[in-house]
């Protein structure tokens, strides 16, 4: 049994990959069998990520060498101190991100069992879904720069295919086209940076390159290429134009999972800023880069969301503005890295930002699922054509209210816990930051009140039934996590978020976990 435990990082990536490609075969046998097949795959991945979090908390960073003599000989004896193979380094932060991705995909998978029932090409849908999950998990857990590029491309291609899955008179194909173009351009610019780093330091492993980094002129070019390409993939404002198109036109559960896909790129942006360049680079500049991205994303995202009339496009703009919160929180942590202020409020700001990642994944996933439920019943996603759904879609209304209240940061729910941490630590760095953050949280509340009014309130215009059971189960999973993190933020901080923030801030530990042998 102990042997199996060491292979968990690899299993987490491989299970969705293999299980995904086997789905069409099972689909040919029996529809029910395929559903069970997909849900077991997602459930196993979820269980493995939870086991991985437990392992990382107890035994520290997990390292797994692909094809090495034993699972953790990062530096083979004859290689003269260079980690040769692809190494998965899973520290607390990446285990945390893997858990977020697996949970939302599990909820999305269960949700899409009924929402995609009887539609064309259903088995391919699940293959792409599992492929997307393995891409995300690979991006989050790999310690190798080029390997990250490969998983990034897997994820982008799979999600582009999924966005265009319901052609919908060509509009979702246009959205998928724009998404695919801009994400492949970003990935190529990232690959260009990887090439420069390989040319300079003759190594591809992130820890190896970080230990050899001398911050030459070329490294500044690489910093620019990496940070901008990954900021674009994470959906921050000056480069956010693909987000409303892609999330707005993706089928039901896919936009919920796309949120975690862009959060995996956000993880990569933080990993690059903290572990690759760390204290050598002028953390004030990179910190202020993240903070200004955060402020722009927050304000522009929410003001654009106020005037939208399409329900999913409105929620997509909110995904951008909530990403702004994470960038703001972690940006303040980065800006104060290494100074005395870091221990006073920098680490808490990072904890707030990272806690916001999982909170956002939960309630944004829930909101996209409720929007999918409304579209599943009404067929239209235009807010002006909806009305009075609360009369007979009771559960969806309650789920939507919980999601809307937690995204607006109303006390008992989880949005408030992480926003409180962000407000009360970033204002020490600069008071303007948290003033804008509080104003943006009310504007978020305003736009969700708009959706709540036009979709659910008002007289009964349509006699629609409640959505089928599986969709409700998918939403219930996310709601229970929202309420759990809302009422017990201390437990989430102590076990999930605290170690993740410390692991991210501590570059030396990351390098020594790979370079320092076992």
């Amino acid at each position: 049994m102990t042997e199996f435990i060491h292979h968990i990082p690899a299993l987490i990536i491989v299970i969705p990959l293999l299980w995904g490609f086997a789905t069409p075969l099972i689909g040919r046998l029996s529809k029910k069998g395929m559903y069970a097949w997909v849900v077991t795959a997602l459930a196993i991945t979820e269980a493995l990520t939870i086991a991985q979090i437990y392992l990382v908390l107890t035994q520290g960073t997990q390292v797994y060498v692909m094809g090495g003599a034993t699972y953790n000989t990062t530096i083979p004896p004859d290689s003269g101190g260079i980690p040769v193979r692809i190494i998965l380094t899973v520290d607390a932060f990446s285990a945390f991100m893997a858990f977020t991705a697996a949970t939302v995909t599990l909820a999305g998978g269960i949700y899409s069992i009924t929402s995609e029932e009887g539609t064309s090409g259903e088995s391919m849908y699940y293959t792409l879904l599992l492929l997307m999950l393995s891409g995300m998990l690979g991006m989050v857990m790999t310690g190798d720069l080029f390997n990250f590029f490969v998983f990034l491309e897997i994820n982008s291609l799979a999600s582009a295919g999924l966005i265009a899955y319901r052609v919908g008179k060509g509009i979702s194909v246009e959205a998928a086209f724009k998404y695919a173009i801009i994400s492949s351009v970003g990935a190529l610019i990232y690959l260009f940076g990887v090439g420069i780093l390989y040319g300079e330091y003759d190594a591809l492993n992130l820890a190896m390159v970080a230990s050899r980094m001398q911050f030459t002129g070329l490294d500044k070019v690489v910093m620019a290429l990496f940070t901008v390409a990954l900021a674009m993939k994470a959906g921050s404002v000056p480069l956010h134009y693909w987000v409303p198109d892609a999330y707005g036109k993706a089928p039901g559960a896919i936009s919920a999972i796309l949120v975690t896909a862009s959060q995996a790129s956000l993880y990569a942006l933080f990993r690059v800023c903290f572990s690759l360049f760390g204290l050598g680079s002028n953390t004030l500049t990179t910190g202020w880069f993240l903070i200004s991205l955060g402020l722009l994303s927050m304000f522009v995202g929410v003001t654009m969301a106020l005037i939208q009339t399409d329900i999913k496009r409105l929620m997509a703009y909110h995904a951008i503005s909530q990403t702004g919160y994470m960038l703001l929180g972690v940006g303040v942590g980065l800006a104060t890295l290494g100074t005395a202020a870091f221990s006073q409020y920098g680490l808490q700001a990072m904890e707030g930002g990272i806690f916001h990642i999982i909170n956002h994944a939960m309630y944004k996933g829930l909101l996209f699922l409720t929007a999918g439920a409304v579209i599943y019943r009404l067929g239209t996603s235009d807010l002006n054509k909806m009305g009075g759904l609360a009369h007979n879609m009771k559960y969806t209304t309650v789920f939507f209210m919980i999601g809307a209240l937690s995204i607006a940061g109303i006390p008992p729910f989880n949005g408030f816990a992480s926003k409180l941490m962000i407000y009360e630590s970033t204002y020490l760095f600069n008071p303007i930051l948290s003033i804008i953050a509080i104003v943006v949280s009310v504007l978020t509340l305003a736009s969700f009140v708009k959706v709540f009014h036009s979709a659910f309130m008002g007289p009964k215009l349509y006699d629609v039934k409640e959505v089928p059971k599986a969709m409700l189960v998918g939403m219930a999973i996310l709601t229970s996590l929202i309420i759990l993190f809302g009422l017990f933020p201390n437990i989430a901080i102590q076990y999930l978020v605290g170690p993740a923030a410390k692991a991210l801030a501590n570059q030396a530990a990351y390098i020594s976990s790979v370079m320092g042998g076992a």
């Binding site: 086209f177 173009i181 002129g217 674009m232 106020l306 005037i307 808490q348 708009k450 007289p459």
Partner: protein, 119 residues
């Protein structure tokens, strides 16, 4: 139970969700006590339940539902120039997407060249 009661401490504040929820439920109970002393009955199917529309009748349920297309007229009106600029920027044209990306990359190249690394 005690484990749940520890407050969630931030650098300059604190917050305890469980206590908040208990206090909220008890004040909800207080409000319900006052509320329950009131009159419950009302005439169900009469004219009484129709929405007040200054004495007129609303022809159909369709018209009774106020649409949301310009729900925040006041806010958008006050920030009129900002919103005009924002609408112009979001063109939806693939070329502009790539142009923005290249523009921001070159801008960041300059920024990093100037202050990228600690001297």
């Amino acid at each position: 139970m005690v484990g749940a009661l520890n407050t969630y401490v931030t650098p300059s504040g604190f917050w305890n969700p469980i206590l908040w929820l208990i206090a909220f439920l008890i004040s909800l109970l207080l409000a319900y006590i006052i509320w329950s002393r009131g009159e419950k009955s009302y005439k169900k199917e009469t004219e009484q339940v129709k929405p007040f529309f200054a004495g007129n009748v609303i022809e159909s349920k369709e018209r009774a539902h106020v649409r949301a297309h310009n729900i925040y007229w006041g806010f958008v009106e006050a920030l009129r120039p900002y919103y005009m600029a924002l609408k112009r920027i979001h063109t939806g044209d693939v070329n502009d997407y790539v142009a923005w990306f290249i523009g921001v990359t070159s801008f960041m190249l300059i920024i990093y060249f100037l202050w990228g690394v600690k001297p």
